[in-house]
Amino acid sequence: MKKISLLSAMFMAFFVFTSNAMAVDTLEKISDSGTFIVGARDGAIPFGFHNDQNEHVGFSLDIAKEFHKALEEKLGKTLELKTIVVNPKTRIPLVANGNVHIVTGSATHTIPREDTVDFSLTFFLTGSQLLVKKDKGFASVKDLSGKKIGAAQGSTNEKTIRKLNESGYFNPEAKLVIYQEHTQGMLALNNGIIEAYCGDGSHLAGMKSKAKNADDYIIIGEMLSYDPYAFILPENDSNFRDFINEQLIRMFVDGRYMKYYDKWFGANGVVPFPMTDDFRTLIKLQSWPL
């Protein structure tokens, strides 16, 4: 039965808005149950996805494993690490409900989301960019004025394109085509239905790397929006948040973070995504004294 309810927890349920969330003691919950439950993405390459051997792996999962190790040390006992697949619709409710202790995915830290949950320090920095076909010769984002640009429904990317249209950045206005998910956008791009697909840079890099004809694509443009990714944590549990942040800083400082970054995003990684200067500075600035 427990298994079923855990399996069930894998998806859905995005409405929980516990406005008067009570303070919870996540560390105590983990200690009592002997299980550390982590929500992770599937299909968000390379943050969390199933590889060719059908194993659930990724950058965020590697960091989750570090948290697991640190938790075992802190609590002084062996803990079971349980990963549950979450998606953009389920990730916040699952934490708010207490079904998972942390979501290590690829969620942008925004103020509206702070109403429901808390966030860790920023562990990844990206922003909206455009994926285009190389042979079309688009050099800058502006070149796509009057062209069809795809984006996923409800994403920050969709909002970014709307804003650029409203501000007159695109002249004539770009035609926005909204898809239910990234895979459809990728198909539309490949088949010439749209000229560009707007997504988070790191996501686009993942989509590109997964495609058979990866070399036909190129990611263009400066970051059109600012998307700092953070881990989703239960609301009003500063002990747990402090613990996670401390571990993250330790990883920043002792090089474990960069090791994982290189493993997944390095030149020979799964999704090459060179760290920008802003990103590097952000990591440095967040490395509070230990």
Binding site: S5, L7, S8, A9, M10, F11, M12, A13, F15, N87, T90, P93, L94, N97, N99, Q180, H182, T183, Q184, M186, L187, N190, N191, M207, K210, A211, K212, N213
Partner: protein, 218 residues
Amino acid sequence: MSFEWQVITNNFSFLMGGLLTTFQLAIIAISGGLALGILVGMARLSSIKPIYYPATLFVNLMRTQPLILVIFWFYFLIPIVLGNPIDAFTSAAIAFIIFEASYFAEIIRAGIQSISKGQVEAAYSTGFTYWQAMRYFIIPQALKNMLPSLITQGVVVFQDTSLAYVIGLREFLRSANVVDAREMRSVELYLFVGFVYFMICFSMSRICKRMELKKGAA
């Protein structure tokens, strides 16, 4: 452009996994929908108003809705009612059972109505209660009479399962979509998906037609 059919053979087991999910969902939807449909169909013929009116309202309401919307609706509603998130398959299965029940109910109702009053009375006169008469006598006959319509509806349900795509269920169509996003062979993949659906549905409707002919001849 040239066709590259290897994309099908290379990803065959993955695609068949999707087809298996489609079959599982279809079987649950058909059997569950039929079971619930029998109850609703009986309720639609009930002389007891508190039973008749809700059943009629349910059937007529469901039949005004696009299935895709019903799938979304249950996807949002069930977690609120249960207090727990549920997976896409369960959510889709519940939506299908409830939605298809309204269609099966109308078929069953017609089936029950096709049985002559005399037969029903004969059943009662042998001492059967309402439930016994329904269980051993009327429903089996109604099902038999309505078999072609039921199969036709079953084929419709089978096709309908492709809509579970929208809530992320990795059924046949989505698995083709996933492969497509990687391999970029839309034409081959959708032709293949279409072909498989066609072969299954076409042979079912052939069987159905033969049955109808047989029934006409008898």
